[in-house]
Symmetry: C2
Subunit: 184 residues, 2 copies
Amino acid sequence: MALSHAILSALTERPCSGYDLAKQFDGSVGFFWHASHQQIYRELTKLEQQGLVTAEAVPQEGRPDKKLYQVTEAGQALLRDWIAQPSKGSPLKDELLVKLFVGYLVPPETAIAMLQQERSHHAATLEEYQAIEQRYFAKPAAMTPAGQFQYITLRNGIHYETAWLTWCDETLATLRSMNQGQGE
Amino acid sequence: MALSHAILSALTERPCSGYDLAKQFDGSVGFFWHASHQQIYRELTKLEQQGLVTAEAVPQEGRPDKKLYQVTEAGQALLRDWIAQPSKGSPLKDELLVKLFVGYLVPPETAIAMLQQERSHHAATLEEYQAIEQRYFAKPAAMTPAGQFQYITLRNGIHYETAWLTWCDETLATLRSMNQGQGE
DNA sequence: AGCGAATATGCAAATAGTTGACTATTCACA
DNA sequence: TGTGAATAGTCAACTATTTGCATATTCGCT
């Protein structure tokens, strides 16, 4: 199932501890997948039992010892096969859109405030992505294939956030004109 | 939790049977929420026990009898309160992006084929949305508030699909140039 | 010394979601 | 008459996810 694949993908990109993996899922991987740390550890145990990853205890200084996880050959082969299979679509679940579906139940000011909040959240995320783009992907043509594929996922995020902002602006304009229409 | 809210929203828009509700979740509501019909019936039972919806048996001719569900005053009040609360963000889970994160594991031709398939899927969805827009929302300014809010959600879908298409085209161009770069 | 934060890991219960299977009614068609 | 499709609904087992909680180490600060 997809969490195992997401974990294998993240570890293929960079072997790391369970803790760091969870931080990846809060960070860069979190844009296109997410999981709680409890889930991640649970899945890592399974993957290890299946021989798809190895766990190696690494003593550290100044911090607790950690377990370094890396993908085995079998793990990578499984990932390769999975990549080549048709992807399942990703059905959306968006609370804001559910709310807007019956947005007429609340005053327009409420809806407007909701959209403004949503807009500022997406604007902040877009800025974050653009900062990453500038910092790490300033010269895409000069990057390794691995880097280029990572950039591709970042570009998806940038398009996504841009589309949300465009829609927020359009919707705010609509709501404001509805509000004025009702003020008469 | 959100499925109950999604059901209350759908029933507020139009009281209907469990079967029709499931069809709504396969159709228009399915763009921003989804649930299996088993889940829907289960949730309806709960909502009825909580006094948030009523179920009324309706005899029919030429088809089995049905249960018509509608939202109670309490249900609508709960929905109104929920709408006014801050929305939780909707973390994404996208299998294709996981695959592309480690896309270098497969030949570029495989990645290109993946993107082409994805592109055609999004193009078809966009066409569907645009057809709905033309058919039901040709004159947004002349619509009821309820209709306008529905149109707002449709517009989100249109922006979303458009962004995906743009990104697919951009990514296909990238992959093709990577493929040519490697062909040397 | 104790506390909080960061690093590092893990268990368990409850809830949410998926999948499989099933029943019943009605209609249309071979 | 039997079959398949559409309408209409239900039960159950399994998987995935969320939430709460916990342990341990190390560091820095009061």
